[in-house]
């Protein structure tokens, strides 16, 4: 079965030190993050909350290596990605990080089954049995051969979650993964995330507006005025 990792608090999976980020807009630069410090250990789960527009998604994107910070240091699984190039970031996204987007971005030209398997196959960790179990738990077994556009919003979100979990990444970044789900499905999804953290020692950073779900995680940080509290 799965390799169980030792839960060692010093085993830092993600650390941000003094990370700042601003976006250029028509009305000049908008400072979104202004010196964020954060650490997440393997086997740890953390809830990230904050008002809409406070920069939660931005923080997740930076941690996933999708974009570069203006200032500060970001270390993922021992790699400092602050100065990393395009290729190195891509390798990190492929092998180490799993990101569930707020807007579930599925690949429109692939059917549900292929979408579920895509990231795992890219990472070289494709496990058909685990995928089948995920599809079952997420209630996707009936629509494996449909295309993303033929799914409801909630179904699409579940595919996006399944795709990330199927790859069993060491660092899971989830951006409001349950936003479109009813309470029962949301709970089931939450259980899946926690199971992954438990069994593989992955780290989980999850954005959520729901205090009830946040309470099920080990810790909770809040973003406001560009800093964590």
């Amino acid at each position: 079965m799965w390799t169980v990792r030792v839960k060692d608090p010093s085993d830092k999976l993600l650390s941000l030190e003094g990370v700042s980020k601003s976006y250029a807009t028509g009305e000049g630069p908008v400072q979104v993050l202004a010196g964020v410090d954060l650490t997440l250990a393997a086997g740890q789960s953390l809830a990230l909350t904050g008002e809409s527009g406070s920069g939660k998604s931005t923080l997740l994107h930076l941690a996933a290596g999708l974009d570069a910070a203006d200032r500060g240091r970001i270390v993922v699984a021992g790699h400092d990605i602050s100065q990393a190039g395009d290729a190195e970031r891509a390798r990190l996204r492929r092998g180490t990080v799993g990101l569930v987007f707020q807007q579930f971005n599925l690949i429109p030209s692939l059917d549900v089954a292929a979408n579920l398997a895509f990231q795992a196959r890219l990472a070289g960790r494709h496990d058909p049995r685990w995928q089948a179990e995920l599809a079952e738990t997420l209630g996707l077994a009936a629509c494996l051969h449909r295309y993303p556009e033929q799914l409801s919003g909630g179904q699409q979100q579940r595919v996006a979650i399944g795709r990330t979990l199927a790859a069993r990444p060491r660092l899971v970044l989830a951006d409001e993964p349950t936003g479109n789900l009813d309470e029962a499905t949301g709970d089931a999804v939450m259980a899946l995330f926690l199971r992954l953290v438990d069994q593989t020692g992955a780290g989980l950073l999850m954005v959520t507006h729901s205090a009830r779900l946040a309470a099920r995680l080990q810790g909770r940080v809040q973003l406001s005025a560009g800093r964590l509290a």
Partner: protein
């Protein structure tokens, strides 16, 4: 309503490139089409003018088998015939220039034939008295600059290439003293009795022979214009289709806000109308330029191939402009019909995502495949049972359109297969994604297919023709020197002088004759090894040369044999002679029927035929020296003696110019196809981000994605090229074996030139790569923030 229109138009402000492509495609399509039409209109107008020269379209004429002797004319006048004499003959001025000289008698000319105002006698006197006065239209006048001719004077209303002169002066200039080409009959006067023997009455002819002869040439041009137009419309269609697709959410919003479907369609219609008028006007301007650029070559071709005179400058015709705008409107309507229909049937609530379109297109693909198969069956049926040039062109159109429609179907099947075989996740995604791109690219690919196939087809035809033609020239122009003496007396002296100096001196003699009611040229051929060894025979009866020398058998050219279905051994009848066909020979670059008889038999039929032209055999290395000596000994002029090499050079030059226009249109069509590709890729690249961003987020670099995008474009272009090859060869075969036979009366063997295909294939790939460069670079240079916005935006 105003607000709705503003919302609709705002799309174009945000995608100026799409707008540019739409207008450019429409303008190009209109330009190529109306350019060809302008050339055709100019040529037709000058044929009509030529047909009306001296009232030939209204006046009956009296003609004989050869020239009419002056005495016959005098006798007719005495017998009460109101006839007026005309001489008409081409006057060669130098190697490049000639003038069709028409001599008239201004005093007896019937009223409908009067074309020049002589004024109050100030022109009449110099016209009638030596050295005479030549009237010509201003352009012809300019072309005659520096020629050794009597004084020239400009006259409006004369067809180009014609010089009008007093008959007496013309006879002197042409060396036709005492001979008349034909007589014009005054329609007002009654005919005093039956015509004497040897003369016949020729009815007025509203369409000149030239117009009939050149019909197929113009049809060729028209077909090419139509092809370019179709290729241009592909751009328009894809630009409109994508613009409508992208505005679909906006259409929904407008409809949801209470704009009726009818209003929406009306607004879109008005928008398209505006574009059509704008682009149509630009296209007309461009078309006029294209025509003005091509017309000199076309004029040269028509002059060289058919002896048809067309002016080298273009007149502006309002009717042509109106037709051009009309075709622009029609083209816009045709290429937007599908999009408008889709908008009219747009469901108010439906996901506006690209794949829905792709899935719908897959159903459309089936219908398309059926239509393609239907068209190909039609092409096959026409090949088996079609007759005539129009059927040949319908066959071509059905073949090309059918193949173009089939292309996306084939590519889709190939991609599906590739996707099934692919192992890695990226490869699988690549093929699936390419399949999804196919509907958006298929029109551009179809345009590329047509352009490539036309290139291969026409290129193969021209190269095959060139190969055959040069080989044929070597056979046909077997004499080292060609003599054309200014008069009979000089000719006799030269021949006597040549006897000890040349290996052989053989007369080249011709007369006009008739075969099965059609005019034909009759030649006399000496019995000599020069002909026995060289003459290019296509089919022959055994012992053909002895049969010909015997006098009871004739040779006919391929044109005549095909037109009349004649074979060696078949009987044939000419005025005054009846016999059989000994052989059929190839005779390119000449649209008319020819018959060859043995020399003795020829002179028995036409004892008065001129013997001024001779072919001279001499050792090739002695030819130049002999020509030098002849020029020194006799006053032969530039035209009097021509060597084989310059004659071949001249023939090849005519040949090359004939296809210069085709080649130019070919290149233009390929350019338009490249543009279509570029337009589609640019437009698609705007819609690509939501499809690429997820793959990027999961760990593919932008550079890799850009490489894959480039690879995709190249693969599609290569696939299209692979499909274009068989189609192009089929096209070449149809052109050589069907269209040429119908249009010119000869069939050519097909030669293939694989090296040309490689070049073209490389060219297609380079064009595709260039077309993809801008969108691919755009992708490679995207900032992460741009890609991330995809995830933030509601789609």
């Amino acid at each position: 309503m105003r607000a709705a229109l503003a919302a609709l138009l705002s799309h174009w402000r945000r995608s100026p490139l799409q707008l540019a492509m739409l207008l450019l495609g429409l303008a190009l399509a209109t330009a190529l089409w109306s350019g060809v039409q302008a050339i055709n209109a100019e040529a037709r107008a000058s044929y009509a003018e030529a047909a009306a020269t001296l009232g030939q379209d209204r006046l009956s004429r009296i003609a004989a088998d050869g020239p009419v002797p002056q005495e016959t004319y005098v006798a007719l006048r005495r017998a009460g015939w109101r006839v007026s004499p005309v001489v008409e003959e081409r006057l060669r001025i130098d190697e490049r220039r000639s003038l069709r000289l028409i001599g008239i008698d201004p005093l007896t000319l019937p009223a409908p034939a009067q074309q020049v105002e002589f004024g109050e006698g100030d022109a009449l006197l110099p016209f009638l008295t030596a050295p005479g006065l030549i009237f010509a239209d201003p352009e012809t006048l300019a072309r005659m600059e520096g020629a050794d001719l009597p004084p020239l004077r400009a006259a409006e209303g004369l067809p180009p290439g014609i010089g009008l002169m007093d008959i007496g002066q013309a006879q002197r200039l042409l060396g036709m003293e005492g001979r008349i080409s034909h007589l014009l009959l005054d329609p007002e006067a009654p005919q005093p009795g039956p015509l004497p023997d040897g003369l016949r009455l020729v009815s007025p002819d509203s369409e000149s022979d030239v117009a009939r002869l050149t019909d197929s040439f113009h049809l060729n041009l028209t077909a090419f214009g139509l092809l370019s137009f179709a290729v241009g419309l592909f751009i328009v269609h894809s630009a409109i289709g994508l613009a409508f697709e992208q505005r679909r959410p906006m259409f929904r919003t407008l409809r949801a806000l209470g704009v009726t479907a009818r209003t929406l369609i009306g607004l879109l219609f008005a928008e398209l109308l505006l574009f059509a008028l704008l682009a149509g006007a630009a296209g007309l301007l461009l078309g006029y330029l294209v025509a003005a650029l091509l017309l000199p070559d076309v004029a040269a071709t028509l002059r060289g191939l058919y002896g048809a005179e067309v002016p080298g400058t273009l007149a502006f015709r309002p009717g042509w402009a109106a037709a051009g705008l009309g075709i622009a409107l029609l083209g816009t309507l045709v290429s937007s019909a599908q999009s408008l229909w889709r908008v009219a049937h747009l469901p108010l609530l439906a996901p506006a995502q690209p794949r829905a379109w792709a899935v719908a297109s897959e159903r459309a693909l089936w219908r398309q495949a059926m239509a393609a198969v239907g068209l190909l069956i039609l092409a096959g049926a026409l090949l088996l049972w079609g007759r005539g040039i129009v059927a040949a062109f319908v066959l071509l159109a059905a073949l090309l359109l059918g193949a173009a429609l089939l292309l996306p179907v084939l590519l889709a099947a190939l991609l599906r297969g590739a996707q099934g075989l692919a192992r890695g996740p990226i490869a699988q995604w690549f093929w699936a994604d390419t399949r999804q791109q196919l509907p958006g690219l298929s029109l551009a690919l179809m345009a590329l297919l047509l352009a490539l196939a036309a290139n291969i087809g026409v290129g193969t035809m021209v190269s095959s023709f060139r190969l055959t033609f040069t080989g044929w020239l070597d056979q046909r122009l077997a004499f080292e020197l060609y003599l054309s003496a200014p008069d009979q007396e000089t000719a006799d002296r030269v021949v006597r002088w040549l006897e000890p100096r040349a290996e052989a001196v053989l007369p080249i003699v011709r007369a006009e004759t008739e075969v099965r009611g059609q005019p034909a040229q009759l030649y006399g051929m000496a019995d000599h090894p020069t002909y026995r060894e060289n003459w290019p025979l296509l089919a022959e009866a055994p012992g053909v040369w002895d049969l010909l020398a015997g006098g009871g058998w004739a040779l006919v050219n391929e044109q005549l044999a095909r037109r009349e279905g004649l074979e060696p051994g078949d009987p044939i009848r000419l005025p005054g002679w009846e016999g059989r066909i000994a052989a059929v020979y190839s005779d390119y670059g000449n649209p008319s029927a020819q018959v060859i008889l043995g020399l003795d038999r020829f002179f028995a039929l036409h004892p008065d035929a001129e013997r001024r032209r001779y072919g001279i055999r001499v050792a090739p290395d002695r030819a130049a020296a002999l020509a030098e000596e002849m020029r020194a000994a006799f006053d032969l002029g530039d035209e009097g003696l021509i060597d084989q090499a310059s004659l071949k050079g001249f023939s090849l030059q005519v040949f090359e110019r004939t296809f210069a226009v085709t080649a130019a249109l070919n290149v233009l069509t390929l350019g338009v196809a490249g543009l279509a590709m570029f337009a589609s890729l640019m437009v698609l690249s705007g819609m690509r981000l939501p499809q690429l961003a997820p793959v990027w987020a999961m760990g593919l670099t932008k550079a890799r994605l850009a490489r894959l995008e480039m690879l995709r474009t190249l693969l599609l272009a290569a696939g299209t090229m692979a499909a274009a090859l068989p189609l192009g060869l089929a096209l070449a075969w149809v052109l050589l074996a069907v269209v040429n036979v119908q249009a010119f009366g000869w069939r050519l063997p097909m030669h293939v030139f694989p090296l040309d295909w490689l070049t073209l294939g490389a060219l297609a790939l380079v064009a595709a790569a260039l077309a993809a460069t801008v969108p691919v670079r755009r992708l490679a240079r995207l900032r992460p923030a741009d890609l991330l916005r995809v995830f933030a935006n509601e789609r």
